[in-house]
Amino acid sequence: MKKVSLFGLGAGLLAALTFTSEPAFAQQSTLDIVKSRGQLRCQLGTPAPGWYELSDSGKWSGFDVENCRAVAAAVFGDPDKIEYQSVTSAVRFTAMANGESDMLSRTTTWTLFRDTQLGLDFTTVSFYDGQGFMVKKDMGIKSALELKGATVCVLTGTTTELNLTDYSRTNDLGMNAVVFEDSNVRDNTFFTNGCDAITNDKSSLASTRAKAPDTSIFTILPETISKEPLGPVVRQNDSQWKDIVLWSVFAMVQAEEFGITSANIDKVIAETTNPEIKRMMGVEGDLSKGLGLDPKWAYNIIKTVGNYGENYEEFMGEKTVMNIPRAGSPNALWTNGGMMYSPPFR
């Protein structure tokens, strides 16, 4: 906290010298700021397939982008009222702290340190990821525990490197890490047999595999050596805004559980007798009051953005370059044995 107070002192001094107003995000609620601006400022990373893709026509799309679009749909009824801020991971948290971004949705792992020491609040988990290994099939390896003495390509400066060393030491595997700064160089080294295995979050391994000249010769090993729960992040001390982001994600999960999609939503609402659906979609009751949103907020999300399963299929599913199977993974609905679970809408 020492650093923060030092910056605070500097900020105070400068503010006193020039203007006598405090940072507005400290007083005004984020919802008010977003509404008066007319746009949600949502922070993404630099383009990554599946998560946040930048097309050659300059449009953003992706699994994490859908979280932003859901929040914009909830607040404005229009998922396109967003200013996307694509920043490198080095400055992601400062861009939140200085009020530049309203929310962050960019494969950021929820850890205790980040949740408590950076002035941030993690909302919920929208994707359960975990670190794994990928090898060539012809090595005949079935388990990561067989990688004794193997050279492993890994990116530097991330927890990935730390996890690898920990795993190697715990299981006495004596792995040699080959460290890279750039993921393209790492991938090319792996493809040209520069290392026996490559390690990263499993979703990233999927996109690495998709880059290879021949994708069929690689296999991702079953072991998951770390927990990487990913989800949207907001600034600390604004519980209303946190609730909005949190429940926007829940709405997509709950809609999938109800079997509501962007295509059938109007039909379902017209025909349903389920009071929970009616409450959720703003037909009955005043559930939206606490959020400070339009009663139709959840309807707008599902209608314009879609439910969780639709988004998964579109960006992570088997028809995409990512091709991460959902069945049997923690990202399946709890009713299918996964961990995607929304608290009730009542």
Binding site: F7, S21, P47, A48, S55, Y84, T88, A210
Partner: protein, 449 residues
């Protein structure tokens, strides 16, 4: 008299023998330059082997095995198996490498802006045009505002509107001046004064007339630009080569004047100015550019109240300008120190004051000496601007990286980098060639020897 002499009494030089055949022509050149001795021969063979080997590889990769038409990188890979370049993807992303995420329908504004700049600066190279300094100064001081208004669109605010009008007036004045010069007058000012009928009045009156003419032009330009109705393109969407040129262009054009001022300040005898300039130069020269960029983009907003919401791009440009000025200051100081003390003393003996001495005697000589260093610094700055990709501005480098993350072109990595390298090579090579040309034309006897 000639007929009296015998032919054989006159010394007639025989025509000299031709040089040995192995020292002339192609063979001679080869012997002299490539195969002068065993060591030379060895070096030639090794060098030629390397050139042929890598040249062949590059040619096979970039031309023979390359794919020019494809819908995705996967398709390219299926055709080449990774042995050839996939230029189809570069082609598909080309307009993004140049304009970034600038709205497609609005890209004509970027083109227009750069055309205006080129037309504005063109009179520099017209031999009969006078007042060339004013052409440069007006472009450097006012064009950035015109460009900002044009590129940004939306509601520019009064300040930008006024500056735009001034810029338009200056632009018109520059070209009226060209017309006047080619019509045989000394400058457009002379024409205006003559037309106004105050030609027989004194100089002060002339100044007022010119100011009045500028005012009329300004009002017309202001009315004209207020009819503009441009869609807003926020700076987050600026990118590609366009953004690189915006940042480095402003950095380069502000570096020299700021550097000159800082260098003079550092050599000044006034302690406050001297200490300030020295501290400024030493501080920003000792810190890496990336640190300054981080400070500007992430720390500055923490220190400012939110009511002032500085644009990220503006902060970056300021940071680049500061950095470039600090480096330039030391180059200029080096140039100043190369000027003989006698020049200063001679100027003072002629009764010139400090500013006249500097602008008329010292600086022209010093700047000539500094051309190679200055251009080298500009080239460095142009390349350094790629660092802004680290803080998330989509310059050409980050755009090329982004294209390889597009699911359709996933894995396209080498090709965009080669393209970016080619772009930077062309730009820097042009700058280098132009600087050599400048040295020859204005460097006089002090140029390259």
């Amino acid at each position: 008299m000639a007929e009296l002499m015998h032919d054989d009494a006159v010394f007639r030089p025989k025509p000299s023998l031709p040089p040995p055949p192995n020292t002339v022509g192609v063979v001679g050149w080869l012997r002299k330059n490539l195969f002068g001795g065993p060591f030379d021969t060895l070096m030639t063979v090794v060098g030629a082997t390397l050139i042929v080997y890598f040249g062949h590889k590059l040619f096979m990769y970039g031309v023979v095995n390359a794919v020019w038409e494809a819908e995705s990188y996967r398709e390219c890979l299926d055709i080449t198996g990774g042995d050839g370049a996939c230029w189809a993807g570069v082609d598909r992303w080309m307009s993004n490498y140049i304009y970034g995420r600038y709205s497609v329908d609005e890209r004509w504004r970027v083109n227009l802006g750069f055309i205006v700049l080129a037309v504005w600066l063109a009179p520099f190279w017209f031999p009969r045009v006078t007042q060339k300094i004013l052409v440069g100064v007006s472009a450097v001081l006012t064009f950035p505002f015109l460009a900002a208004n044009l590129f940004l669109g939306g509601d520019p605010g009064l300040f930008l509107e006024v500056m735009t009008a001034i810029a338009l007036t200056c632009f018109a004045a520059v070209w009226l001046n060209v017309a006047a010069c080619y019509a045989g007058y000394k400058s457009v000012g002379v024409v205006i004064v003559r037309v106004s009928g105050f030609a027989d009045k004194d100089d002060r009156m002339h100044k007022w007339v010119l100011l009045g003419a500028f005012g009329v032009g300004f009002v017309l330009a202001f009315l004209y630009q207020s009819t503009w109705d441009l869609a807003e393109v926020p700076t987050v969407n600026w990118g590609g080569l366009f953004l690189t040129l915006v940042i480095s262009g402003i950095g380069i054009s502000s570096a020299l004047p700021a550097g000159v001022i800082l260098a003079l300040g550092r050599r000044s005898k006034m302690p406050v100015i001297q200490v300030f300039c020295t501290a400024f130069i030493e501080l920003f020269r000792s810190v890496p550019l990336i640190t300054i960029l981080f400070m500007a983009v992430t720390m500055m907003p923490l220190f400012l109240p939110v009511s002032i919401n500085p644009d990220k791009l503006v902060l970056v440009i300021i940071a680049v300008c500061i950095f470039a000025a600090a480096y330039m200051a030391e180059i200029v100081r080096g140039g100043l120190q190369a000027i003989n003390k006698g020049q200063y003393e001679a100027a003072q003996a002629m009764g010139l004051n400090y500013w006249k001495m500097m602008t008329l005697i010292i600086m022209p000589q010093a700047l000539k000496l500094m051309i190679p260093n200055i251009v080298g610094n500009f080239m460095g700055l142009l390349k350094d601007t790629t660092l802004v990709s680290i803080i998330g501005l989509y310059d050409i480098l980050l755009m090329t990286k982004a294209s390889g993350q597009d699911p359709k072109w996933l894995g396209m990595h080498t090709e965009p980098m080669l393209f970016a390298a080619a772009v930077f090579f062309v730009m820097c090579f042009c700058m280098s060639k132009y600087s050599q040309h400048l040295e020859k034309t204005i460097g006089g006897g002090y140029g390259r020897r």
